[in-house]
């Protein structure tokens, strides 16, 4: 039962879709409560936004996704005009790490998730 999970994917090690669901609720709450970034979420439909967060976390967890850099660019273009920059992106990564810590995920796996999330930086910020 204690067999190491070296063959399991990151997504499996994190607990798959159930883990994403648990993480979305905590992560989105942290983001909305974070005064550095919550103005970017004013007036959005919370259910739609939560669904987007879920897609993002699934991707960052190494799960099945249809990630498209172009979609990410288009989706954030308006926010970049509002002033979205590296500091805000860092804040989101920080909230993501804090969420995973709260869920008892090891530092090593958190590092892997953060590294995947990091790959979206240029697209999100329109660079």
């Amino acid at each position: 039962m204690t067999e190491t999970t070296t063959n399991a994917t990151l997504f499996e090690q994190l607990g798959g879709e159930a883990a994403v669901d648990a993480a979305v609720d905590i992560f989105y709450r942290k983001v909305l409560a974070d005064h550095r970034i919550n103005r970017f979420f004013d007036g959005v439909n919370m259910d739609t936004q939560a669904a987007k967060q879920k897609a993002f976390l699934t991707m960052a967890f190494g799960g099945p996704n249809n990630y498209s850099g172009q979609d990410m660019r288009n989706g954030h273009a308006k926010l970049v005009k509002m002033g979205l920059d590296d500091s805000h992106f860092d804040a989101v990564i920080e909230n993501l790490a804090a969420t995973l810590t709260e869920l008892g995920v090891s530092a090593e796996l958190i590092g892997q998730v953060a590294a995947i999330a990091e790959t979206t930086r240029a697209d999100v910020l329109g660079k």
């Binding site: 879709e17 609720d25 989105y28 709450r29 909305l32 409560a33 919370m46 259910d47 739609t48 939560a50 669904a51 987007k52 879920k54 897609a55 699934t58 099945p64 996704n65 249809n66």
Partner: protein, 321 residues
């Protein structure tokens, strides 16, 4: 291979094809987005068979119970008759059996359907006048063998429909109405859960239905807290009935709130949503219902979520007028 009936047409799925792909292949106009079960743009409803479990991932409990599913995830196991949400319109007929004043500007309208109905208290139906004017009203009563529906109709000074209800509609007249829709209703299975219900004005109607459904149909054991808000005392139009209910059910609590002047200590001064959310700063594990002014609903939803309620446990009905 299964058959998908959509409107007047029937299509056959090809091996392991999803409902969405079957419809798109046949040039049907249906909304879709991510095709991965995330965006929920392709939400549809099965009108007969229960959809595969996999196609209901991420939907709310009550949507699942009503056989909603995501077309992009649905590889049907049985033949299905499917429809887009709110697009399965067929009108039913009912007779007006009661019309009484609940306050100076709220009317209780009771209608009796000519055929049996499936609904949950708190859902809404569309009422239609002969000339085609349609308005949505929440169901304030629980399921009953007489197929009766109750609504609290606020009379707006220039309300095309509500003024007509007030001035011209009489007992014995016939009305058309739609099947019940919406996900703002009691959900079975968590009998010990704490419930917080916040309503302004006639946002009380669905909440009153949900509360009675919880207490009398489902014997809900958890604490149930209702906060009803109005500007002045005349708007607290069910005060007597709700007070009686608190005496009958020790787990039911009612806080009438006035945002205007308060001359009586039985009322709490302030906005119902603010008072409620201050009273219960920790909402982890709670179910929350928010009905009434859209602004109040929007703010309270965000606040309830930030105070710990899970998004899937927050049910809302924003009243537009």
């Amino acid at each position: 291979m299964t058959r998908i009936k959509f409107g007047e047409q029937t299509f056959e799925t090809e091996n392991n094809e999803t409902v969405l792909n079957t419809l798109l292949r046949n040039n049907m106009q249906v909304p879709y987005g991510c095709k991965a079960g995330v965006c929920q743009c392709c939400l549809m409803r099965s009108l007969d068979n229960v959809p595969p479990e996999k196609s209901q991932v991420g939907l709310k409990d009550n949507q699942q119970k009503q056989n909603y599913f995501l077309a992009c995830l649905c590889e049907p196991e049985n033949d299905m008759t499917v429809a887009l949400p709110n697009n399965e319109i067929s009108w039913l007929e009912a007779e007006v059996i009661e019309k009484t004043d609940l306050s100076t500007n709220v009317i209780l309208l009771k209608i009796k359907s000519k055929e049996p109905l499936a609904f949950f208290a708190g859902q809404f139906v569309n009422l239609r006048r002969d000339d085609g004017v349609i308005r949505s009203y929440s169901i304030a009563n629980i399921h009953n063998a007489e197929h009766e529906l109750e609504f609290h109709i606020r009379i707006l000074p220039n309300g095309k429909f509500s003024r007509w209800v007030a001035d011209e509609l009489t007992v014995g007249m016939l009305l058309s109405f739609s099947h019940a829709q919406g996900d703002c209703h009691y959900v079975e299975g968590k009998i010990e859960q704490s419930l917080l219900l916040i309503g302004t004005g006639t946002g009380l109607a669905p909440l009153y239905g949900i509360i009675r459904d919880a207490l009398s149909t489902h014997k809900h054991q958890g604490e149930i807290h209702l906060f009803h808000g109005s500007r002045d005392a005349s708007g607290l139009y069910l005060e007597e009935k709700l007070t009686t209910l608190t005496q009958k059910y020790p787990n039911f609590h009612y806080t009438p709130c006035l945002s205007g002047e308060v001359n009586d200590e039985k009322y709490t001064k302030g906005r119902a949503n603010e008072i409620a959310l201050q009273a219960f700063p920790k909402l982890d594990g709670w179910r929350v219902y928010l009905c009434g002014q859209p602004e109040m609903v929007l703010h309270s939803k965000r606040a309830a979520y930030l105070q710990g309620a899970s998004l899937k446990e927050i049910y809302v009905d924003a009243f537009t007028s």
